[in-house]
């Protein structure tokens, strides 16, 4: 192979990294470069520096150190049996690219992952070296997200946590069956053990930093993972079950759902057709209901159909409200916060505004209209001083009233 230029390598190794959905740069400690020698800051809230036409945020320089891999996972473009062109960055090249992009305000930081070369430990060492150099040689205070390798030595993983804001290990597939079939070298048990160890380290460091201000930070933005949706036969109920288990056991900040998308030079065990992107969207909505709206996982799962799938035409919150109509209408002037959060069309911010303003006035429908995005969506489910929806909530065809009128045609649908 002829020598590749930096730009060509970047093309290959960014292309290889794009199937990882995460690009978040949020949730870490507040800091800036005042008093330092390098660049970088973090406000806690992430920043998306650009958006690609796939609607995804570009916040971090998301690349692989190398796309060579000794594993042969069927869903992965970089698997050893794929004919994709291979390339490899040196640690120094990644550092240079990250700093050059950061100084031009293109990115919030680096998300580094890698194919497995030689051994898990060797690969992990290379990843850690990039983070070390950025932090120690260049006093870089931007965001670093490192993908850790389940089989790597505990000491290497610990070092990764010391340099990184966030660490992640992908569970890849929602069921052990799926993993055995599609990723024969990966071991569900090992992945979860690694996540569990990581949680212990994060918790310990958290305890220590509460007691001693000088305690070293360990992955202050926590850990996350990713599941591929639609590559195996797992239904939405399975996926939600798996995700809620992961959140509980390993205190994950985020579970990312990535709709399986066709990859060049795909393996024959994979489906040719991608799942609808809407399915991924509905999973994220369900995830949000569980994490921010006080829904129990079983409640969200109860809205799935006979095949265990979430409705694609309406969102899961609306689906729950339609199924449990006896809980409605909700009086906006008296209802609890928990119940207000369950009203379709009321977001967390709208609920806060309602709670704040109802101490000062009796809320009428026009007040609700000012506090929410779409009063038409909320109306059938609430009671206000001058509004009772009795005629609507009892209708058997309420669903057809509320489901989006025109199915959105998918651009370039096959």
């Amino acid at each position: 192979m002829t020598q590749l230029g930096l730009q060509q390598k970047l093309g290959i190794l960014a292309d290889a990294a794009k199937y990882d959905a995460s690009c978040a740069s949020s949730g870490t400690t507040k800091r800036d470069s005042r008093g330092g020698t390098g660049v970088g800051s973090s406000e806690g809230m992430g920043i998306c520096h650009a958006y690609a036409p796939d609607g995804r945020c570009i916040s971090l320089l998301k690349i692989l150190l190398t796309n060579s891999c000794i594993f042969d996972c069927a869903y992965c473009i970089n698997r050893s049996s794929s004919n994709v062109r291979r390339a490899r960055f040196t640690a120094e090249e990644v550092v240079r690219l990250t700093l050059a992009f950061y100084k031009r305000n293109y990115i919030e930081g680096l998300f580094l992952s890698s194919g497995i070369i030689r051994s898990s430990n060797y690969t992990m060492e290379q990843i850690v070296e990039v983070a070390r150099s950025l932090r120690e040689d260049h006093d870089f205070r931007g965001y670093i997200h490192l993908k850790t390798i389940p089989d790597a030595d505990a000491e290497l993983v610990r070092q990764a946590g010391l340099y990184a804001d966030r660490v992640s290990i992908n569970v890849e597939l929602p069921t052990t069956d799926g993993l055995t079939k599609l990723a024969p070298e990966k071991d569900a048990h090992r992945i979860e053990t690694a996540m569990s160890d990581m949680r212990a380290s994060i918790d310990d460091a958290g305890d220590a930093s509460r007691r001693y201000t000088s305690a070293p930070r360990f992955a202050p933005a926590g850990q996350s993972t990713q599941m591929i949706v639609g590559a195996d036969s797992a239904n939405d109920r399975d996926i939600l079950h798996k995700a809620s288990g992961l959140y509980e056991r390993y205190a994950l900040r985020r579970v990312y759902y990535s709709a399986f998308s066709p990859i060049p030079d795909a393996s024959a065990v994979l489906p040719l057709k991608r799942p609808p992107l809407m399915r991924e969207h509905r999973l994220y909505q369900s995830d949000w209901l569980i994490r921010f709206y006080g829904f129990a996982p079983a409640e969200v799962q109860s809205t799935t159909d006979a095949h265990g799938m979430l409705a694609l035409d309406i969102d899961p919150k609306l689906a729950w409200a339609l199924k449990f109509r006896d809980q409605f209408p909700v009086n906006v002037n008296t209802a609890s916060k928990e119940m207000l959060l369950r009203v379709p069309g009321l977001g967390a911010k709208s609920v806060e505004r309602i709670l704040s303003s109802r101490r000062w006035r009796q809320l009428r429908l026009e007040d609700i209209a000012r506090l929410t995005v779409s009063v038409a969506k909320v109306r059938p489910f609430i009671v206000a001083t001058d509004w009772r929806p009795t005629s609507l909530i009892d209708r058997t065809d309420l669903r057809s009233f509320l489901a989006p009128k025109q199915e959105q045609l998918e651009l370039f649908a096959p």
């Binding site: 930096l6 730009q7 970047l10 093309g11 290959i12 960014a14 292309d15 794009k18 800036d32 470069s33 005042r34 008093g35 330092g36 660049v39 800051s41 406000e43 920043i47 998306c48 520096h49 650009a50 958006y51 690609a52 036409p53 796939d54 609607g55 995804r56 945020c57 570009i58 320089l61 998301k62 690219l97 050059a100 992009f101 100084k103 031009r104 305000n105 293109y106 709709a259 998308s261 066709p262 060049p264 030079d265 795909a266 040719l272 991608r274 992107l277 505004r353 704040s356 303003s357 101490r359 000062w360 006035r361 809320l363 000012r370 506090l371 959105q408 045609l409 998918e410 651009l411 370039f412």
Partner: protein, 476 residues
């Protein structure tokens, strides 16, 4: 910072030093409120003119102060940066209310509170987008950016950039003001132009390589992109030049992936035709790119020219490109295009053998928030663009021209045509060829009732079936 004066009318005139003069507003508002001056008796102005009437004598400076909640100060500091000329008066009205009721800000359903919160949200969003979308170019060790914010936020953004790039020397230039950091001291300068942040930074090309590579063509979501990266910010971002080609080639790249080859292809273009028709068409298309025959060329992204083989027996003429066509640069790729493709398939017409174009080649729209709402072209615009349609027809020489909708019919015949009366039978055009009139697919999409939509769709299918049969007759 502020000056108070009694103007010729009864209103008190307050002149602030700059559009984002928070300190000036606060000093004046505090004094006015303490003296109980009602909101409608104050006129707020920005300017450097020196009002000579009362000089800088603020009335009753000694008047009793009253405390305001901390979140009001935060709100005011943000809202002052908004471009809404009423912002100072609105804030003052709320301040007066807070004097009587310390909790007035908690009543978030109140129209004034809500309106100010929305102004604050707009400023915060603009500020967040500025943090995200400023693009520095390195020139001799100094980093220079040009940025055009919607509100007066440049000064307010300074602390973010100082904290992030403390150890760099940088300048952010904007039309109204510029800020400079030399590693220790922040200075301000006058407004600037884009030309003062010249291109030539080699890393921009590397960044574009990254942008193109990280995009997954199998999951195109143009709306989601536009929602978060509105077009008003695109002009100063090097990567946005790639958006259109990436969208245009996305479907093909996905098909290639499925087919197992990674070779990217251009969208289908005209096939060979004897003589110089192809060269003439290429030249015509090139010329159309820079068309300024009407005013639509301003706001639209690009000219959307027709496409298809120059030997096509059937030519479809639509109204004008929509939002997605405007971005992709190809006709009939948005929602109406989807329906059009589906109906063509149903009627057995292969789109790749037809020539598809529009009566008007630029997207006409009215911006509403972040969306661009389609707006019907007027007769002047149709007439201005007719020249291009005539040139296309002269090259393709279709046996049948299908007018999709009233705009296309008007363009082809020069008269207003009622579709209901004209559909079902051909009209004869000046060159002797046939013109069939039917509805535009977006008309069907806009019908709210499902049953009537189905009816209209069936009529559309019927019309196109007639066209197919007629084309087959003519081919024999």
């Amino acid at each position: 910072m502020s000056r108070l004066a009694v103007s010729t009318t009864d209103a008190l005139r307050v002149t602030l030093a700059a559009p984002d003069d928070f300190d000036g507003w606060r000093d004046a508002a505090r004094n006015l409120a303490a003296s109980g001056v009602p909101a409608d008796a104050v006129a707020w102005h920005i300017g450097t003119e020196e009002p000579e009437l009362f000089g800088s004598d603020a009335p009753k400076r000694a008047a009793a102060q009253f405390p305001v909640p901390r979140n009001f100060v935060d709100l005011a500091a943000d809202v002052v940066c908004h471009s809404d000329p009423e912002r100072f008066a609105l804030l003052y009205a709320l301040l007066l209310r807070l004097r009587d009721n310390r909790h007035a800000l908690e009543d978030e359903a109140d129209p004034l509170v809500r309106r100010l919160q929305k102004l604050q949200k707009a400023v915060r969003r603009d500020l967040h987008k500025m943090h995200a979308f400023v693009r520095f170019r390195e020139i001799d060790g100094r980093f220079v950016a040009f940025f055009e914010p919607e509100h007066h936020i440049v000064r307010r953004s300074a602390s973010f950039f100082v904290g992030r790039f403390t150890n760099m020397r940088w300048s952010i230039l904007a039309p109204d003001v510029s800020i400079h950091w030399d590693g220790e001291i922040l200075t301000e300068g006058p407004g600037a132009t884009r030309a003062e942040a010249p291109s030539g930074d080699p890393f921009e090309e590397t960044w574009r390589t990254y942008y193109a590579s990280i995009f997954n063509p199998a999951r195109l979501k143009v709306g989601a992109m536009l929602k978060e990266m509105p077009k008003k910010y695109w002009r100063n971002m090097p990567e946005t030049a790639l958006v259109q080609p990436l969208i245009a080639s996305a479907r093909q790249r996905e098909l290639d992936m499925i087919a197992g080859s990674a070779v990217s292809q251009e969208p289908p273009r005209a096939v060979e035709r004897p003589g110089n028709a192809q060269a003439a068409w290429d030249a015509l298309r090139e010329q159309a790119r820079t068309c300024t025959r009407c005013d639509l060329c301003g706001p639209a992204t690009q000219t959307v020219f027709g496409e298809g083989p120059l030997t096509a027996p059937i030519m479809f003429i639509g109204e004008q490109p929509g939002d997605q066509e405007d971005l992709a640069g190809r006709p009939f790729v948005g929602p109406a295009g989807q329906l059009f493709n589906a109906v063509l398939e149903e009627t057995g017409i292969d789109r790749s053998t037809t020539y598809v174009t529009n009566a008007v080649k630029h997207f006409k729209f009215v911006p509403r928030g972040k969306r661009r709402i389609h707006s019907k072209p007027d007769t002047g615009e149709i007439d201005a663009c007719r020249w291009w349609v005539e040139q296309e027809r002269a090259l393709v020489l279709p046996q049948i021209t299908v007018a999709l909708g009233a705009t296309a019919a008007r363009s082809l015949t020069g008269k207003s045509i009622t579709i209901g009366r004209a559909r079902g039978a051909p009209l004869t055009l000046a060159d002797g060829s046939e013109c069939w009139v039917t509805v535009h697919p977006s008309f069907i999409l806009r019908i709210p009732e499902e049953d009537r939509r189905e009816e209209e769709r069936a009529l559309f299918v019927q019309d196109l079936k007639r066209v197919r049969m007629r084309a087959e007759e003519l081919a024999e």
